[in-house]
């Protein structure tokens, strides 16, 4: 009896070992995970997600550095990061490279984030705020906590943008378990990060959201802008689910926070009375 049990145990262990051995390479390639489905049969991406990296400071690899406002000391200085782009540097055209340096030098004045402007795509994804995916068969709403930004992805048909806008025009389709979002008609006023990395109105972004485990998605954005870059480049990062039971987006209605920056000099001064 004891022998029989042991042999059963051994065969179970062997089976498990074989399963693990065969499954491991597939997991490494991100192929083995199959996302749970919504009631209508699509991969279920619903949830509150957030990037956990320093891309909003600089999408390129960067060491830690003192922040642009020395008075804020270590509290608002820049953490280092390995970068989220393919390669070590962005393929700027010469004039664009010069403009990026100028943007960087004047970033406190010029970064649209300082003014509470909508962040554009892909920056909205990796702002240090959560965003929520509200997914139905016809429409996927991407709702960002920062500045109440929102995009609705039309899953039924490819439509034409009525005009250029800050968050662009998004149409989507499924490629296996991956949600592919084509983003066009973005205006030229948003940046990629706080380091002055920028683009023109020729920007075209193709995003891929691929479930990689119950609580992580892989995010990939192919960025193309022939007026600014010599070739397309890719941004890649995991997104993490907020697993707290009570997780919810809160308001970040930031116009109020930017009023001093934008209108301070236009205030009535006490000595004008």
């Amino acid at each position: 009896m004891r022998n029989r049990l042991s042999s059963l145990k051994i065969s179970a262990i062997l089976t498990a070992a074989i399963l693990v051995a065969t499954a491991t390479p597939a997991v490494a390639q991100g192929q083995a995970y199959k996302a749970p489905r919504t009631a209508d049969g699509h991969p279920n991406l619903n949830g509150i997600w957030q990037a956990m990296n320093t891309a909003n400071w600089d999408i390129r690899p960067h060491a830690a550095a003192m922040g642009p406002v020395p008075m804020l000391g270590a509290q608002f200085s820049t953490p280092g990061g390995l970068g989220v782009i393919d390669g070590d540097d962005l393929p700027y055209l010469p004039a664009a490279a010069a403009k990026q340096k100028e943007n960087y030098a004047n970033r406190v004045k010029l970064d649209p984030e300082v003014k509470c402007y909508l962040p554009g795509v892909p920056r909205a994804t990796y702002m240090p705020f959560p965003f929520q995916i509200v997914q139905s068969a016809k429409t996927i709403m991407l709702v960002y906590e920062y500045a109440g930004g929102v995009r609705t992805v039309d899953m039924e048909k490819v439509t034409k943008a009525p005009a250029d806008s800050w968050m662009g025009w998004s149409t989507g389709k499924w490629d296996g378990d991956t949600l592919v979002v084509d983003v066009t008609s973005l205006n030229d006023s948003t940046w990629f990060d706080r380091a002055g990395d920028f683009h023109s109105d020729a920007l075209h972004v193709v995003e891929r959201y691929t479930p990689r485990s119950a609580d992580t998605l892989m995010y990939e954005a192919t960025v193309e802008d022939p007026k600014t870059f010599s070739r397309p480049f890719k941004i890649t990062m995991p997104l993490y689910r907020h697993v707290e039971k009570n997780a919810q987006l809160l308001e970040y209605k930031c116009p109020e926070f930017a009023e001093e920056v934008l209108y301070g000099p236009l205030r009535k001064k006490p000595n004008n009375n």
């Binding site: 995916i133 509200v134 009570n246 987006l249 308001e251 109020e256 934008l262 205030r267 009535k268």
Partner: protein, 340 residues
């Protein structure tokens, strides 16, 4: 029935008894109105489907015109005549105001030029004389403490209304528009909204000013009371075919028609037919009104799409208002100096 279920029912009963009487009254008022018998389409998750692009543009005023007394509905003839008047008026507005170029009068908005005139937008037909239901048809008078609060708010701004951005209204500051609510009230133009539903959530996006209210319907409690927001904190549940949304945690600064942070809003969304959502709300605030009040708005399907309304990004008005005020002050000071 198991013992544990018995206990949980008793606990629930006690919890219901403990609800403050004003809330219970408001809830009853919200429930009392008749709900349509239409069988709505369902989402794949099995709840009523409210999704799509809608507009809450309305020709009905919030409060009943004084002369109408307790008359809650127009007759068919009266309604048709009013509709025609309103259309004629709106069409004249689309034609544009004839003003002399280069004059101050020539600086104005032609809503029709941008497709924003009400005659250019679909409006649900309604015979209501006011959005507020009931014989009174008015927002109840402010309680003395609310009048005092209102007077203090006004006094703080008197003589300072052009000093800085904080002295201007919330919509001018791109913080909050009345259509966003809750309660979501019709505004003069651009009353478009889009509803999306994921499992356990209803999301309502307003074209102006692109904020999304994400309403969990999974039975979770409200956020901690210490968190106060412009649009409050919304929780929803389904009652038959109706989405019921309870919103608390308002900021004192929201000041909805003189309210305090005790503001409590209950909304009910019911599909009346393929083309219409009956939107009902009840508002209460025991520090502001002696009793709750309720209104009804018909939200109708819109062709869409919803455009991006980038308010903050295009807010030239605020800088212009403030620099205009500073220029006026400078000019006045120069005139005083010249007289000396």
């Amino acid at each position: 029935m198991t013992t544990s279920r018995c206990i949980s029912i008793i606990v629930l009963a006690i919890a219901l008894l403990a609800v403050d009487p004003a809330s219970a009254q408001a809830l009853a008022a919200a429930k009392a109105t008749n709900t349509p018998a239409f069988t709505p389409p369902r989402t794949p998750d099995g709840v009523p489907d409210l999704q799509g692009v809608w507009t809450n543009a309305s020709a009905v005023p919030l409060e009943r015109p004084k002369g109408l007394g307790a008359k809650e509905f127009y007759t068919d003839e009266e309604a048709a005549q009013r509709e025609k008047q309103s259309q004629d008026q709106a069409e004249r507005a689309v034609g544009g105001r004839q003003t002399e170029p280069g004059t101050v009068a020539d600086v104005h908005y032609d809503l029709g030029q941008y497709g924003l005139s009400r005659s250019q937008s679909k409006t649900a037909e309604s015979k209501r004389t006011s959005l507020i239901v009931g014989p009174e048809g008015q927002v109840p008078p402010l309680l003395p403490e609310a009048q005092k609060r209102q007077a203090e708010r006004a006094a703080a701004n008197r003589g300072h209304q052009w000093d800085g951005p904080e002295n201007r209204g919330l919509s001018e500051r791109c913080i909050l528009w009345p259509n966003e609510g809750p309660p979501m009230l019709p505004v003069g133009y651009n009353g478009n909204l889009q509803i999306a539903q994921g499992p356990g959530y209803v999301a309502i996006m307003q074209e102006m000013i692109h904020d999304v209210r994400i309403i969990p319907t999974d039975g979770r409690p409200h956020a901690p009371q210490s968190i106060r927001q412009w649009m409050g904190d919304s929780r929803g549940h389904w009652e038959g075919n109706t989405l019921v949304v309870d919103t608390t945690n308002f900021s004192n600064k929201t000041a909805f028609r003189g309210s305090s942070d005790k503001l409590h809003v209950i909304e009910r969304f019911t599909r009346a037919n393929d083309d219409t959502i009956l939107y009902q709300f009840t508002v209460e605030d025991p520090t502001t009104w002696a009793k709750p009040w309720s209104a009804e708005i018909l939200i109708t399907k819109s062709a869409g799409p919803v455009f991006e309304y980038a308010c903050q990004e295009g807010n030239y008005g605020m800088a212009n208002i403030l620099s205009g005020a500073r220029a006026t002050e400078r000019k006045a000071a120069e005139e005083v100096a010249a007289k000396k």
